[in-house]
């Protein structure tokens, strides 16, 4: 009984290897179910033929190469060629739109909660009518900005691009045109509002996901009927978490579905109590592992070189140093009793917040309270840093690209990084979001290394030598599914080339399908964690405030090291890249 209790508390259970594990163990079922989704996605998106895609890519690339040789800055023709390529996206296929509608979660709202679920035809038409004047105005402003940009570019060309002042003026005007173009795109969205009703699709999705996970539950010999009965409330709580995270003020502060799932579940569990009939559906580990296999496909290794060597140094050199130093600091100085809590907080803070916390917690068998605590800390500090860092950068007059790289390497959540970057400038947003993306890719390496270290060093008696077979027995097998998905999709993306890879993998299989499923799976796991968590148990892990001290000390070190590295890379070693972004 006591053993069962310990097993249900950890994010992942201990594996014993035998051939029957393939159809009896949760880790393998997470891999089978995750890969089933990825294979369906690959069959839908990869063979898709988008009319004129290859021709447009070839033509646009030729234009961009020629323009890059002609001028010392990105010209109007360069940008137009880039836009022509971006027009092709797997997610714009008709079937992708149906998938998106089916997997849709409650959307944004401000004061009327119904806006999140339903928008009638009349309401949509009224909104569109309201948005039309703005769209017309934005179109006119864009045309005007384009004319000014072309004129400035012509003047710079007339001086054979040898006049620095004319070049800068042209760059400025082209930047204004890009801003105007972006404004038109947003205004177009407001002038073409479509009606929606997510309630029927939510009901359908609840049934589909319940059946999907029930396949694994049945194969593992668990209570299928109990699972299906309890799944409804867990799904409803997940939908509620999405609903709450879509509220305007919550978006301002970066309070996402993860924290709402945990809070919502904990409030229920610690007040009226989680009903007994819901408990068979609280399959935290199963949802997390399946979501992580899908996340693996999104970890594309070719993204590491997206911004060249500076990005690799800022994201892939600083991050492991901070992770290891913070872990050692937690063990040697703070003497945090739980190594799993220490590593989960260290990974959460240094790598990329919630996603790294989930992957690390699963890899080292952390307890669900430890994961909850790490995510809570991440949320609080992300909200603070998202607001304070851009304000500080502006106040001290730090170059925005340096500021973007700094924020990208230190703020935990990608959404918060994008908001903080956009608050400075478009270039800062690009650098910040790209650095964060490169850091996201580090999750795979982190999870694998933590899993191996835990099997070989932590989960054994001091001085005991662990054989490779023993490591294999103990190794969380779903990590292999995670890595396999990462390697396979990185290979597919790489072999398709940067343009087709972006269109069919990044904006096809991944953004158009698997990440929507993955989002729901993680949301289910957070709701289940909340429903199974006791406030008192959580308070026990918080004793002495050591987790907060660890986070603050680690983040301070991260801030200093990232800023130093970003400055050296973007302003000393590679100023050319910085100048052209």
């Amino acid at each position: 009984m006591a053993e069962d209790q310990i097993k249900s508390d950890v994010v992942i259970d201990r594996g014993q290897s035998s051939i029957s594990d393939l159809w009896k163990k949760e880790d393998y079922w997470a891999i089978w179910l995750g890969f089933a989704i990825l294979i369906v996605g690959a069959f839908i998106f990869l063979p898709a033929k988008l009319d004129g895609m290859e021709e447009t890519f070839a033509k646009s690339n030729a234009i961009m190469a020629a323009e890059a040789e002609r001028a010392p800055f990105k010209t109007v023709a360069w940008y137009k060629a880039q836009d022509a390529k971006a027009h092709f996206k797997g997610s714009s296929l008709p079937i992708a739109k149906d998938i998106k509608a089916f997997l849709a979660h409650p959307g944004g709202w401000s004061t009327n909660p119904l806006d999140s679920l339903v928008l009638t035809k009349e309401q949509a038409e009224a909104k569109s009518e309201k948005g039309k004047p703005g769209f017309e105005k934005a179109k006119a402003a864009e045309a005007e900005a384009l004319a000014a940009a072309l004129e400035a570019e012509k003047a710079a060309e007339a001086a054979s691009f040898g006049d620095a002042a004319l070049n800068e003026a042209a760059k400025g005007k082209i930047g204004d045109w890009r801003k105007a173009k972006s404004a038109t795109s947003k205004a177009k969205g407001k002038a073409n509002v479509k009606p929606y009703n997510v309630i029927p699709s939510l009901i359908g999705l609840m049934v589909a996901m319940g059946v999907f996970f029930a396949i694994g539950i049945a194969a593992m010999g668990k209570d299928v009927k109990g699972f299906l009965i309890g799944f409804g409330p867990v799904f409803l709580l997940s939908a509620f978490a999405y609903f709450m995270s879509g509220q305007a003020t919550m978006k301002h502060y970066g309070v996402g579905y993860a924290i709402w799932g945990v809070i919502g579940g904990m409030v229920i569990a610690n007040t009226v109590g989680t009903p007994k009939w819901v408990k068979p559906a609280l399959e935290v580990e199963f949802y997390i592992k399946t979501g992580l296999v899908l996340l693996g496909a999104e970890v594309l290794f070719n993204k590491v070189v997206a911004i060249g060597i500076p990005g690799i140094f800022v994201a892939w050199v600083v991050t492991p140093i901070v992770l290891i130093c913070t872990f050692i600091f937690g063990q040697k100085v703070l003497k945090i009793p739980s190594k799993t809590l220490n590593i989960v907080i260290s990974a959460d803070m240094s790598v990329c917040g919630t996603s790294a916390a989930i992957a690390t917690a699963a890899a080292c068998r952390a307890k669900k309270e430890e994961l909850t605590l790490s995510i809570g800390l991440s949320l609080v500090f992300t909200s603070i840093m998202m607001i304070v860092m851009p304000a500080f950068i502006k106040a001290v007059g730090m170059p925005y690209i340096l500021g973007g790289a700094w924020m990208g390497g230190t703020i935990d959540a990608t959404g918060a990084v994008a908001a903080a970057g956009a608050f400075l400038s478009e270039q800062a947003l690009y650098v910040a979001a790209t650095i964060k993306m490169i850091q996201n890719v580090l999750i795979g390496v982190t999870a694998f290394c933590v899993a191996v270290y835990w099997c070989a060093k932590v989960d054994c008696v001091e001085g005991q030598k662990v054989s490779w077979m023993e490591i294999w027995h103990r190794f969380p097998k779903f990590v292999l599914g995670f890595l396999a998905a990462s390697v396979i999709f990185s290979f597919i993306s790489q072999s398709l080339g940067p343009d087709a890879g972006y269109t069919l993998v990044d904006h096809g299989v991944l953004r158009g399908f698997s990440r929507l499923c993955r989002g729901w799976f993680f949301c289910l796991s957070f709701a289940a964690i909340g429903l199974a968590t006791n406030f008192r148990e959580l308070a026990h892990y918080f004793k002495g405030g050591k987790p907060v001290i660890l986070y603050i000390c680690g983040q301070t070190f991260n801030l200093c090291l990232t800023l130093g590295m970003a400055y050296v890379m973007f302003y000393w070693v590679f100023p050319d890249i910085t100048a052209k972004i």
């Binding site: 690339n61 961009m64 890059a68 040789e69 010392p72 990105k74 360069w78 880039q82 390529k85 004061t111 054979s160 070049n167 947003k186 995270s245 003020t249 919550m250 978006k251 301002h252 502060y253 970066g254 996402g256 409030v267 229920i268 610690n270 007040t271 009226v272 109590g273 999104e298 993204k303 060249g308 990329c352 996603s355 607001i387 959540a413 990608t414 959404g415 918060a416 994008a418 908001a419 903080a420 970057g421 956009a422 947003l429 690009y430 650098v431 910040a432 979001a433 790209t434 964060k436 993306m437 996201n440 940067p498 972006y502 990044d506 904006h507 953004r511 990440r515 050319d576 890249i577 052209k580």
Partner: protein
Amino acid sequence: MENASLPKRWLALAVCAFCCWAMMFVVLPAVNRAFPEMGKLGKLVEEENIRTGMFFYTDVEQAGVADWNIENTIRFMPRGGPESAQ
């Protein structure tokens, strides 16, 4: 709470729901109004429709746009003009 009576437990749930409501519609909007920078950031988040709570790069549309722009810049890095001719 396990030993409390059912009405007390439902009352606790109602109090928690009220706290969430107050945080969402009273406390945090007041913070936005008190700190102009916070209000500006909130407005930007609304205008750009940035999903700030999302944690992975594939969840954030702006990260895709950033990746696309940076990747193309690195691939087709402008190097023209008289300096390159020399």
